[in-house]
Symmetry: D2
Subunit: 192 residues, 4 copies
Amino acid sequence: MSLNIAIVYGSVRSERKGIRVAKFLEKKIIQRGNNPSLIDPMEYSLPLLDKQFFETEKPSAKLKKLHNIFLNCDAVIVVSGEYNNSIPPALTNLMDYFYDEYEWKPSGIACYSSGNYAGVRAAMQLRAFLGELGMPSVRKIFSVPKVSESISDKGELISKELEKSSEQFLEQVEWYAQAVKDYKIKKGMLQA
Amino acid sequence: MSLNIAIVYGSVRSERKGIRVAKFLEKKIIQRGNNPSLIDPMEYSLPLLDKQFFETEKPSAKLKKLHNIFLNCDAVIVVSGEYNNSIPPALTNLMDYFYDEYEWKPSGIACYSSGNYAGVRAAMQLRAFLGELGMPSVRKIFSVPKVSESISDKGELISKELEKSSEQFLEQVEWYAQAVKDYKIKKGMLQA
Amino acid sequence: MSLNIAIVYGSVRSERKGIRVAKFLEKKIIQRGNNPSLIDPMEYSLPLLDKQFFETEKPSAKLKKLHNIFLNCDAVIVVSGEYNNSIPPALTNLMDYFYDEYEWKPSGIACYSSGNYAGVRAAMQLRAFLGELGMPSVRKIFSVPKVSESISDKGELISKELEKSSEQFLEQVEWYAQAVKDYKIKKGMLQA
Amino acid sequence: MSLNIAIVYGSVRSERKGIRVAKFLEKKIIQRGNNPSLIDPMEYSLPLLDKQFFETEKPSAKLKKLHNIFLNCDAVIVVSGEYNNSIPPALTNLMDYFYDEYEWKPSGIACYSSGNYAGVRAAMQLRAFLGELGMPSVRKIFSVPKVSESISDKGELISKELEKSSEQFLEQVEWYAQAVKDYKIKKGMLQA
């Protein structure tokens, strides 16, 4: 049985490049026989958080859609740039709308930059953020330096070095996701 | 000569409590003979960042006002809650619009929570964020646990224990701000 | 079948208090039907790291013992104080000797302080550290403020509020440990 | 008048490479007319911390020497590798012996790695660590990827790209150190 994997991208800038990383992972996940749901904050246009989903009396169709994606996924991958060595607010803002939806789901961190360091500093803050959301992140981080030169705007690899790294990353995410899913079924927390 | 101190508050939630901390510090700064500029993200309603101020062809009056506050201040104090152990996006989002404005200005971190730990985890991420913005933060962090019980909605102290802590905090911010200001004047980077 | 859980304590100070937290968790783990191995860095006296275990030609009996504990455990709990808002070096130093031993094992973070904030800042650095070691940490952090007033020197709870918190913490560690263990057996990575 | 700048190196491994970064900065500081004191933890052989300097009844000559270097310096530069995405324990351990000595002194972070990311994750933890020690770190981080290919074992640059980066780094450290020193003299905290 295939796994549902949400991919949350973290920028709404017109000239954003990291969407390439998200598209690449989306393709890869399909190739590997699983079901990605790419969440692009530009499509959701959520305002800076006032009320979380569970506090909202009449949530919008968009919020309900996100709620359902997170509720039904088996793992979450975040694709994060780095603004001032920190997590881009478009990413934390979208994810902060939800909480219980995430519980007992593993996560994976993909990070990128236009420069050499691939956003790994933001990735460390994400270890803390995702931990608190109940989604421990797997060891391997898929880190992409010089993103414009590494992946095309259609999400195809230019830098072949990233092939192996992305495979290891997705293997770890799938491994934890399947382990947790099996255990939930065993414990009656999830239907087979 | 008095110091210009910007206070940046980091929440736009209807039920936000940390605005009390910002108001308290605003009063304190006036009492101590300096000039605070309280920046409330609710008044500025900045969208999630697309272009930074310097990239914006025709910046709005609001953006220009922020630019001028940051350009002309001698120090910046951030007042931060903690969302999922991380910095609230309303805070990073507002500050990410600017960069050169901050250079060579000391900063201070105030943090708060409704619970016991006062937001100190977000404060650690702010050490990294403010460092990268060119605003090293002073040692003392003004941390306020149980904010609703500690400061009134008018910004007056209920918990007198915070009096001394806030004084030490502002002394350190002023100390660094004055040291840097004097040196800029000596070096011709600023007019006396 | 019971779980093997290593508990790594992180201080060698004569007047250390956090050993109370480690002893308390040790008892609790036994009560819950599992097998703790308490690792006290004072007993191991490892010098500041020169060579990791796998690089050491003739490892000492002590190093071999640690290697075996980590190799054979199903989860690792770290018990950490906070030195200057960071992880105590006695903790990182001991754990840095090993790497592959940790792979695919969940972890839990317990932190404490003599003051009010329970060491939660060090806990955030531990999210990053344990992630890189291949041991994603569970959401719940067992955090103990005012440690001397909360747990006796024999490891018995004085502050009954910590009872529920410790149960939730150990449940999460056991949950992930069992999920991962079952999956390893299913995949032939471990014998049943 | 020249500045006294302590350089604290953070590894005692036989095959350590970062000592090259420390030696390079030592030379540079001399060239720029200031006085470096290179602190190599291998020469001090401090055990894992039991008692801090101020708690020690009869401190060793080595501890006294360190105390005096920190007390009399105008700024501290740390040279840090990255162990498991975190600060090497040899660095925190040495620095944890002291506290008041550091007060009101700016700091600079130099980091390195054998790989591509130059230790920048440890640098973020150092922002927090140095902040708590009372030594806010300057914006610019001197980050050295592929250290063996970038600097010779005598501390000479192989990669000329690092020249400009090191100059900017030292300028910022000196700028803050001089600003703070001038202000201390003005306030009577230091003799001219």
